[in-house]
Amino acid sequence: MNAGKTIIKDGLLYTDEHEWARVEDDIAVIGITDHAQKELRNVVFVELPGVGDKLTFRKDFGYVESTKAVNSLLSPVSGEVIEVNSKLEDRPELVNIDPYGEGWMVKVRMTNKDELKKLLDAKGYAELMEKLA
């Protein structure tokens, strides 16, 4: 388990619901933040959309389950899913171990890059975290 100080990565964009997006051209890779995985503690199941599914900005795109509860995942962008992290099917704990790396969830071809302006950068997310602490 990834304990200790909460990690916030530079260069990513964040929602105020603790999802992150790594953007390159019109592709965004999406996952949940270190803070989110710490709150969940034991991620035991991840339900993700399929390739070709359409995601909508700030709408549910899947579910992450801990030993305690079921939580919905909020999409930071709109677009079409082009790849899904199938490793999470057998190893949902990757979300705990490496939330910004091997614990990524979906890769999306964005349809409205203007939405990115509504996301937080690392500094903005760090400020939000301070407010929550």
Binding site: M1, R41, N42, V44, F45, E47, T67, K68, E89
Partner: protein
């Protein structure tokens, strides 16, 4: 309400939740780690929130016997019995544990069902019966896991003399306690009662006596689920009877008790549903989800479910129509409008050393 160990939990960094009016630790490190510690070595739980009653007076035995499906008269002093309390129509008020002490009966009952049970006891209270709620006067700790005996033997005497489902007075590191060899995890272990003011000292003494993880309500629930132990308020509610819940082993037909006539009838005619163990290939069954049969027809509902930390897959308990309640029957559970497939399996879901 706070247990006498509230400050201890906060100091240990526990995540606290409200559980039927009590501030309780749900997990310290992680539910799965705590669960595995109990299966592998030992875990210590604060169970002071459990409802604790003293039943006293000349009519106490008769009173409890008339309300209990199990045989209370046969319990020796310092012996324990699990029993169901039923209404006249055979439905369940609560499940309880009775410890027979020298001059009274000590009852441990569910926090979530406290009001319902207390109302029922009050309504049926007979002459010469005194009911005293001692929940707040006492702390209760549960040390569970294969190392429990070794740990308790370091800080108390003659622990090996306390047999399974029996109790005894013991001093533990200078604290007066009452210890029973019992629990809700399937592992060897003890439930230890002391005065509230001694709780912190008792907790510390036990923690210092071995390699023990503090364990929260999260692990308590996954541990009991892996054993297929039912939880009152979830797997048995006001609508269920002991026969459909698989509790006939705790129903003694040779004695009288409230609800007996109706239950005898149900036994003769057959139950309408049966509580069964469910194992899914993928996905996690949870309370309230629908259970479906081979042709996706609805056959029941999940009452408890979670990941099995030992098996690494979703397990649960649920009521199904009796014709489906056979081991290896293929079933599905509807999770967010999708069907996740699995089987009816026998419980316990895991083997534990005994």
């Amino acid at each position: 309400m706070l247990t006498p160990l509230f400050r201890t939990h906060v100091r240990l960094g526990a995540r606290m939740i409200e559980f039927h009016g009590w501030q309780m630790p749900v997990e310290y490190s992680s539910t799965i780690e705590e669960h595995k510690a109990v299966r592998g070595s030992a875990g210590l739980f604060d169970v002071s929130h459990m409802n604790k009653l003293k039943i006293k007076g000349a009519g106490a035995l008769q009173f409890l016997e008339s309300l209990s499906t199990n045989n209370i008269s046969k319990v020796n002093i310092n012996g324990m019995k699990y029993s169901i309390v039923c209404r006249d129509d055979g439905t369940i008020v609560d499940d309880i544990v009775i410890v027979r002490k020298e001059d009274h009966f000590f009852l441990i009952t569910n926090t979530s069902r406290k009001e319902i049970l207390m109302d029922w006891l009050d309504k049926h209270q007979a002459q010469g019966v005194e009911i005293e709620d001692v929940t707040s006067d006492m702390a209760a700790l549960a040390l569970q896991g294969p190392d429990s005996d070794r740990i308790m033997s370091k800080i108390s005497d003659n622990i090996d003399k306390i047999m399974f489902w029996n109790g005894a007075k013991r001093q533990v590191a200078g604290v007066d306690t009452y210890i029973t060899r019992s629990g809700y995890t399937g592992e060897d272990g003890f439930e230890i009662y002391c005065r509230s003011q001694d709780a912190e000292q008792l907790w510390r003494s036990i923690m210092d006596a071995g390699n023990i993880k503090p364990a929260g309500l999260g692990a308590r629930d996954t541990l009991r689920l892996e054993m297929g132990y039912i939880l009152s308020g979830m797997d048995i509610t006001d609508e269920n009877n002991p026969l459909e819940a698989g509790l006939e082993w705790a129903v003694k037909w040779g004695k009288d008790f409230t609800g007996k006539d109706i239950l005898l009838n149900i036994k003769k005619e057959g139950v309408k549903r049966k509580l069964a163990g469910i194992k899914l290939h993928r996905g996690i069954p949870r309370h309230g989800y629908d259970i479906v049969g081979k042709s996706d027809e609805k056959i029941g509902k999940v009452t408890s479910g979670n990941i099995s930390p030992i098996l690494g897959i979703g397990i649960g308990l649920g009521y199904v129509k009796p014709e489906y309640a056979y081991i290896d029957t293929s079933i599905g559970v509807v999770i967010r409008n999708k069907i996740y497939y699995g089987n009816i399996v026998k419980t316990p879901f895991v083997e534990v050393r005994k």
